[in-house]
């Protein structure tokens, strides 16, 4: 195809095409999908000169190796990894131009979990139900509904030459580490737990091996349901960030590939902290901090301002 821009030499462990998500079909059981770390995905698009809704590559733990077929601007953000452009080493959270015949090799992550790569013009796979995000369980969206494979061609949209900046300043690069603090609003079913769910905020929890795009199971002190409360509820719609607690008392943070849940939800992670969950790995420690819904809204508005500043800065002509 005319606009094939990369050939996949090595797809990495689990690399998918994602945008900001597929909204409007959850009543039919179709999950939101979309980038797990939307902050990094949006920043990558800004660096590439794209709109925030353009599709990017999301690489999990292991980066991919791509052969370049057309001139393009690429931008890499998210987890830290070694980025080799032919023999040149490029920093994370930066953008650069590539040419036909170039080789891009992205290593395993050294900090964080997911690497994002944007290309000028965006990855141009078909829009399915309004989104380019991959939902592998339903084999829909992205590239043929699946993770990348060796030999795949990746098409990109048309892009004008981008005159903006090539690097994100340090203050806009999120911290990543083994201890993650998550703000969350109690509820919607905190009344089904002892002391209105205070257990959640008392001790840190550990990210278990069962952590993927669907949800993250945590291990830690057992959270007590209140005596009169049943351990399960009639299935309800769920939102990314809802923290469900099944009968075993070990919380599960629900993420982007599930539409309903049948356990009471003790609290919900604020939307602006969901990106941090895209960067945790098994063994990391998580501490929950309780905030009001009003405070969560303020955090959201602040982040929208932050994106505006970041875009203004990156889109200044060099």
């Amino acid at each position: 195809m005319a606009n094939d821009t990369f050939l996949v030499i090595d797809p990495g462990a689990f690399t998918t095409i994602q945008d900001l998500g597929r909204f409007g079909y959850q009543t039919l059981g179709v999950p939101i999908s979309g980038a797990m770390d939307t902050y990094s995905a949006r920043a990558a698009n800004m660096l590439a000169g794209n709109r925030p809704t353009s599709a990017v590559l999301e690489m999990t733990i292991q980066g991919c190796t791509l052969a370049v077929m057309r001139n393009a601007r690429v931008a890499l953000t998210g987890a830290r990894a070694e980025i080799r452009h032919n023999s040149i080493q490029r920093p994370s959270w930066s953008a650069f131009e590539v040419e036909p015949g170039d080789l891009l090799r992205i290593s395993q992550v050294s900090l964080g979990c997911r690497i994002y790569m944007a290309v000028g013009g965006g990855f141009e796979v078909p829009l399915i139900m309004g989104s380019r995000s991959t939902c592998t369980q339903a084999a829909l969206g992205g590239l043929k509904g699946r993770a990348l494979q060796k030999g795949d061609f990746l098409p990109a949209g048309h892009a004008e030459k981008f005159p903006g900046q090539n690097a994100v300043r340090g203050e806009f690069i999120p911290e990543m580490g083994q201890d993650t603090k998550l703000h969350c609003v109690p509820g919607p079913q905190e009344h089904m737990f002892q002391d209105k769910g205070r257990d959640l905020f008392t001790y840190p929890f550990t990210v278990s091996q069962r952590a993927d795009r669907r949800g993250i199971r945590l291990e830690g002190p057992q959270i007590q349901h209140s005596h009169q409360s049943p351990g399960a509820i009639v299935s309800e719609p769920i939102l990314p960030g809802n923290i469900q607690v099944p009968a075993d008392g070990q919380p599960i943070i629900l993420l982007r590939e599930q539409t309903t849940g049948g356990y009471p939800k003790i609290a919900t992670v604020v939307s602006t902290d969901l990106s941090k969950l895209g960067q945790v790995i098994p063994g990391d420690s998580i501490t929950f901090v309780s905030v009001t819904a009003q405070h969560a809204r303020d955090m959201n508005l602040e982040e929208q301002e932050r994106f505006k500043s970041l875009q203004n800065m990156l889109w200044q002509e060099t």
Partner: protein, 238 residues
Amino acid sequence: MSLKINNPRISHCADWGLLVEFGERINPELNAWTRLVADRLRQCLTDGILEVVTAYSSFLVIYDPALLDTEALRKTVFACCSEKKEDKAFQLSSTAEIPVCYEAQYAPDIEDVARFNNLTVEEVIDIHSGTEYLIYMLGFAPGFPYLGGLDQRLHTPRLDTPRKLLPAGAVGIAGSQTGIYPLASPGGWRIIGRTPLQLFDAGKNPPVPYYAPGDKLKFKRISCREFQQMAGEQNHGK
């Protein structure tokens, strides 16, 4: 209507979700009411609303807090609840007829279901295909219907060990529930048949072409020959 419906419990899901719950019950009228209020909300408020998702007796509003004030949203939800309850959503909606082949090659567990309930295989098929089910909601997987109305004579516990892969279209029983797997997936349900229809198709609009929440659903018995013919037609249409 006979059911008394109280004002909903409305609670925040952080900064971008509002959960509206009408009570913890699985009841056809409560389910119809939930869908009706959600529909009214979809019609009167669009700016800033990303999605309204319905389930058994609750719905979730996903919104952009920069564009929508939650106090205003809360008031609108109550206004949608206070309007008269007689509405077309309470009239019976359409009935989907899903063809199912109950023959042994597509129904590995049908003999177990019969034995467990002291029935013959023929009786299991007659009861299962002779009942009209209500689609309360879709969830778990794209297009997966949560059906109400399984005859008590067919209630059967799940398999002790779930199967690693069930084919798309598998029809099963788990406890007091019956359902269809629209996509191939692992599962512990007792499989008593299979439909040749492609129940979820991302390329179609709507992607779940044969039914929607609130519809009635009936299973229609078909032969192996009909199954293969219909499956062939489905593939041909692609």
